[in-house]
Symmetry: C2
Subunit: 377 residues, 2 copies
Amino acid sequence: MNHFNLLTTDPNSKARAGVLHTDNGDIETPIFMPVGTQGTVKALEQRELVELGAHIILGNTYHLYLRPGEEVLSRLGGLHRFMNWQKPILTDSGGFQVFSLKELRTITEEGVAFASHLDGSRHFFSPERVIEIERCIGSDIMMVLDECTPYPATYDYAKDSMERSMRWAQRCKDAWVNSDDRYGHKQLLFGIGQGSTFKDLRRASLEALIDIDFPGYAIGGLAVGEPAEAMYETVDLSTDVLPADKPRYLMGVGTPQNLLECIERGVDMFDCVMPTRNARNATLFTTYGKINLRNAKFKFTDTPIDDTINSYASRNFSLAYIRHLFNVEEILALQLATQHNIAFYLWLVKTARIHIFAGTYMAWKQEFLAQFNAGIP
Amino acid sequence: MNHFNLLTTDPNSKARAGVLHTDNGDIETPIFMPVGTQGTVKALEQRELVELGAHIILGNTYHLYLRPGEEVLSRLGGLHRFMNWQKPILTDSGGFQVFSLKELRTITEEGVAFASHLDGSRHFFSPERVIEIERCIGSDIMMVLDECTPYPATYDYAKDSMERSMRWAQRCKDAWVNSDDRYGHKQLLFGIGQGSTFKDLRRASLEALIDIDFPGYAIGGLAVGEPAEAMYETVDLSTDVLPADKPRYLMGVGTPQNLLECIERGVDMFDCVMPTRNARNATLFTTYGKINLRNAKFKFTDTPIDDTINSYASRNFSLAYIRHLFNVEEILALQLATQHNIAFYLWLVKTARIHIFAGTYMAWKQEFLAQFNAGIP
């Protein structure tokens, strides 16, 4: 059974609009997924995520495995019920965090041994174990365990790493097929392509995944320091190889421009900490560019953040007020800035989708980026 | 003109219910006023304060004078408009903060010179200057500049300090009468009684204030370390002296029990950082007692905070989830705990008011405190 309906493709680019069906709700693509690492999207209430129009959020397997841990999640009925979130959740595999631990981890064919960044306690993630944890979390979309190949990597390193990740992908698929949904809703599994920026490795990786057959495919190992052009080329190649009738998820990307460039190249799903993390650093994304509220020029600015964006934060508070809140280190600063930035990212993908349906995507993209890059008039 | 309507007095105690009218809305007393020191009640959105039923919030003159400062407040149209809050605001005079600076301040008959806790810059607050700043803030209820006499104080210190505060109260009254409302709404001025726990000084202080004549009277200099019984006795004496047709505000108090004891003794208005500050330390006030979510016993507790309290936070999240949020230091922990604690304090005074009207205040108070002090069943 296919969970994805491709609804239309832009006549002037590879941009596409579709719907991904899950038991906890439909996800209209292209979509941006706010990151809720530890069972909360930082500084946002769950009802606010609904209000902002989030279709799906992310959870992080590594962090949730450490805290609150499987016993709490299991006894409290899975992550949806634990955090009181009724819409879809996607969990990454935890691989990205584990591999980031560097000296604290050892990789073998069997899996990856690591020490917790919290207390140094020893743990082991195998592909099978990760599926077991994601089952316990109860995410609607689970990701396979893979190594996010660092950039730059030698060809040999990238090849070995990718090939092991593909063997792990097969083991994840087997573990998924041989295990049950935990909380009454179906849990999908997405494969992840690797291969750094080497075209033949990328192609081989995706062909291996297609051969294994997943409900969706992610493009991993990008936004890790490579030039933007290399990212775009790798995405372009990937969406050429991937089947049209499955969703494509570009992991960890990115800026508003990155999103639009990759939507143009046929990507359906995005996640990134940028809107939430930047919000907490007083950086706002608006239709007239990126602004930093620490700048003294906003001290007396009596206009709201962005009237184009339909959120409580975007329309009801002056830049001067939110600047003051950052200045005096008030929590409300983080709340309002995060609300706005998530509203902006969701507005961006929703507006992109409207223009894909209208056949005006490329013209709109050009116009939007011109305004966005020009900054405040 | 009198801004306060006394609606009823409890047959079995001095508890009373009334309404204080301001141009920005009515305040049903007894009331608890959440503290919004720097132009925000920490971790709460303004729309959430409305949702929780807050009638009035506090602002702090010392903090707002330093940041964002009078020029920003003035150019942005006063604190209501700056923070997008349409209901009443009360500002304390800043005296409490200035006197807390200890080595950084010098007091004379003229006023108090002090160094900013932020950058050491030198400033001077006279009674007249404080009225000017409160006019600029635009609070609906302004407080006179006074010295919050430390506890314990010698009789002579308390007497000199109180008498100076009463001379300052007269100067504040004059400055208020001789200045205009700034933003189209009337700004009231309340006097503040001092005198530590010396009965004759308290009486003399209040008689001096009544002689000056204010729209409302505060009982200051309590909740500064004196035994609860001394606080209750001082409150009892104060409400005996104060006119029945003016609102009485007990500054900086206190615990749920403190509130009920002082409502019983005829107090109408309260403010305290306790519900908000304790929330940020993982301490929740509930109808079944005070609980600390850091306690491991809540690790798997699948019940909401308190079904009696009608707030999003109180009813929609398990103790286990909020405990997890504190454990991993997530901002949402502060948001939900603060929402609940403010909802609890507002529920407490609202329920007290209902029982004052019903003539059942004393019985309800006893029953409530028995349950509150007994803790979780």
